[in-house]
């Protein structure tokens, strides 16, 4: 319980620091939204007039206070350019990015864990090394290149077996669930393959480290085969680490899928951020970045809590250090 409270306090402190960092970092960027709105025909006087109309001539502490005040009330502000609330803007783009990440993670896990187990347990060293090589090569292939290859193979109209759409998101969005899902297949495989290779390496490493552990030995002493012991006990014990890795992979994908989104022309969070930074729509960008970073922190929090749930020993250790040694 005490752990939970401390963890939450640190979470709040980190959020506050984050808001300061995001706010300050964006103020270093040259250019502002007023000159973007005014365009190449405008006179400096016109730019100045727009600046004061939008309140960009207020002092930084004042702007920060206003923004933070809004955040505390759950109001992330309104984009100066698109006129939509930042919340709705994030919502409509996350409706593409989050399903894409979840799909990618499913692909990654369904490739990574079985192959990782296989790489650790395969009988012949030749099979092991082939699988290990696949993991390394798979992780080294840039997603952009892998995506291009997939488009050349499966992209409708351009690929050798042109069967899957490779550009854009259907006009109807998720109102046409099948078309929407199909348009995410290639991008999900692209990110899933790369992330899957990473998960495969972690799974393999976890299992190999378990190979020599007392618990696996114990399980085998109780009559399990080595394979059984590894998969039933070893994998179970690795679960906590694998959850961390999956959580981190999930977090990485939020930024990682942006490249893939742009390759497949999906209007996800990446496209939104690039647009908003390009337009110097700072009110929107700072809320968006803040929310994304907060999401990272939240994932970290969840992973930590999940660790405690998966591995009760952790909880004991924080309450009375070393207690389990005596037991």
């Amino acid at each position: 319980m005490r752990y939970l409270i401390w963890r939450l306090i640190w979470f709040a402190v980190a959020l506050l620091g984050l808001s300061l960092l995001v706010f300050a970092a964006l103020r270093i960027l040259p250019g502002d939204v007023a000159s973007v709105m005014a365009g190449t025909n405008a006179t400096p006087a016109r730019v100045a007039a727009i600046r004061s109309r939008m309140g960009l001539d207020r002092s930084y502490p004042q702007q920060y206070a206003d923004w933070l005040g809004g955040l505390l009330h759950g109001n992330m502000g309104v984009s100066a350019i698109s006129g939509r609330t930042v919340a709705s803007q994030i919502g409509s783009h996350a409706a593409i990015t989050l399903p894409l990440i979840v799909l990618s993670l499913l692909v990654a896990l369904s490739i990574g864990i079985p192959m990782g187990c296989q790489a650790a347990l395969a009988g012949s060293p030749r099979v092991r090394s082939v699988l290990h090589t696949i993991a390394i090569v798979g992780g080294a292939v840039p997603a952009l290149w892998g995506g291009l290859l997939l488009i050349m193979l499966f992209g409708r109209g351009v690929g050798l077996i042109g069967i899957l759409p490779s550009q854009g998101f259907p006009d109807a969005g998720w109102h046409a669930p099948r078309a929407a899902l199909i348009s995410l297949i290639l991008p999900a495989i692209t990110t899933g393959l790369v992330a899957g290779a990473g998960i495969m390496r972690y799974t393999r490493a976890c299992l190999i480290s378990m190979e020599d552990s007392d618990t696996v030995a114990m399980a085998m002493a109780c009559g399990m085969t080595r394979r059984q012991a590894m998969l039933r006990v070893g994998l179970r014990l690795s679960a906590a680490q694998l959850v961390s890795v999956a959580g981190l992979t999930f977090a990485q994908m939020i930024t990682g899928v942006m490249v893939v989104e742009s390759l497949f022309n999906l209007p996800g969070l990446g496209a939104m951020l690039i647009n908003d930074v390009g337009n110097r729509d700072l009110i929107a960008v700072q809320s968006e970045l803040f929310l994304l970073a907060a999401f990272f922190l939240l994932l970290g929090l969840l992973v930590d809590l999940m660790h405690h749930a998966l591995d009760p020993r952790l909880g004991e250790r924080t309450q009375h250090v070393g207690g389990e040694e005596h037991a």
Partner: protein, 551 residues
Amino acid sequence: MVQSNGAHGESDATEADTTIQAGAASGASTDASLNARVKQPDSGHHKPVIWMIAALIVVALIACIVVVNSRSRKTATPTQSDSVAIGIKLAPVSLDIRNQSGSALEQLLIGNVYEALVSRNSNNEVEPGLAKSWTISNDGLTYTFKLNEHMNFSNGDTLDATDVAWSINQLKSKQYYNSDQVENLKQASASDATTVKLTLSRPDANMLWYLSGRPGLVFDKDAHYDAKTTAVGSGPYMVKSFDSSSKLVLQANPKYWGSAHKARTTTVTVRFLPDDNAALNALTSGDVQVLSPVNANMTGKLKSSGKYTVKATEGSDKFVLAFNCTGAKTADKRVRQAIRYAINHKEIIASRGGVDAALGGPIPSVDPGYEDLTGLYPYNPAKAKSLMQQAGYSTNHPLKLTLTYANVYGSELGEQLRSQLSHIGIDLNVNTVEFSTWLQDVHTNGDYDLSLVDHAESHDFYKWTQPDYYYHYDNAQVQALYAKALAATDEQDSAQYLKQAARIVSEDAPADWLFAYRVSVAQAKGVTGFPSRLTQSVLPLWKVAYTPAKA
């Protein structure tokens, strides 16, 4: 630790490489009950699970493929499609055409969603629009417009002279975008429901043309809507949805007042495809039927496939390499002239696919006052070198200059210029920045040596008459000629003055005009009615239609 080694080390001394299961099994063989437990799930309890998952994924994929394939076969029909998708490169960031800059806004909304007092055809000439006719008083100070009758907005509100006068007076009082283009316009008034009178403070030969653009747009004075995300106009199309990161969907306006420009296609989707490769994929995969622009270096395959037509279209885009006329290093006219002589325009144009046109001065071929000025500064590296020598620079003692331009134009142009200028003793540092940074540093603050930007606007010669514009070009003779051109009530006279002014500007070398960008438009066979000129600034979509070929 010890046990695990023993488990298969001792039992399988004969062959170290036997399977793990066998090792474990024989290791445990002393206890019959354990043995029984072990054998049962042995070899092939876990393996099939792994392979079954893999097999399931494969089956799921194949199922998707079959579904998609059976769907796509149905689409081929010989009749006209009720939708057309068009791919363009730059997206408007919002729909607020009264406040937001960007040529994409004008390109997409004017003539399609919003209509102006007068309209502009693809030859850049003024035509009747909401006004069916007009008269100009002899002194050029009063314009009287006769409007069409029974006009209305897409929301059903009537559009009459009061809306026109209100829109123009709002433009002036609220200083909307490009209101400075019509600074000679004093006020608008509605004489009756179909007559609008504009009073000018000075004659302005460009007035009608500017009224065909943003300053002449007519808005519904009674409508309340968020102009950034929606639009209420009087045009043949209405905005169905808009997302600046993906597309603008236009739907035919069922209440459109006119018959001449009635929409031929129910739904026109405009997709924003900033990446050239992605854009080409979208065209070849059938997601869009028209691509404007298409990268001229990528059109070879399209042409040879026989399924697409590719045409280069003329426009008003000028790639202007501006030299800061008041900058410490570029104030010296010899340096500026040397740069113009040193640039090999043919090479640059060829590397971009060979469709762009050479341009020797500030006025593009589609504007009044155009004259071929490419002869003023022909490619002549020897002359460039001697001019640089006179200015005190050589390849051993080079002049250091920085070129600042937006990364949207790619890095190749900067590299080409750097290499071409290095031969005459200029050490060019190429600084590609975000467009908003360019706007701040170069455009607003005027802090630069060399700058490169695509000035897409037509009729924008006036920038050379404003010394506080980022060109910092100040020539009293040019300003006087331009004033005369504006005051001239005869079009021919006006064009003649512009011609003279443009020649002087080009001779002074405040910039080099690298080329006039000609947009390559690729369209699938079966697409009709897509404009063939000025597609970057006026894009009337009402006559676009698509009839897919019979499968």
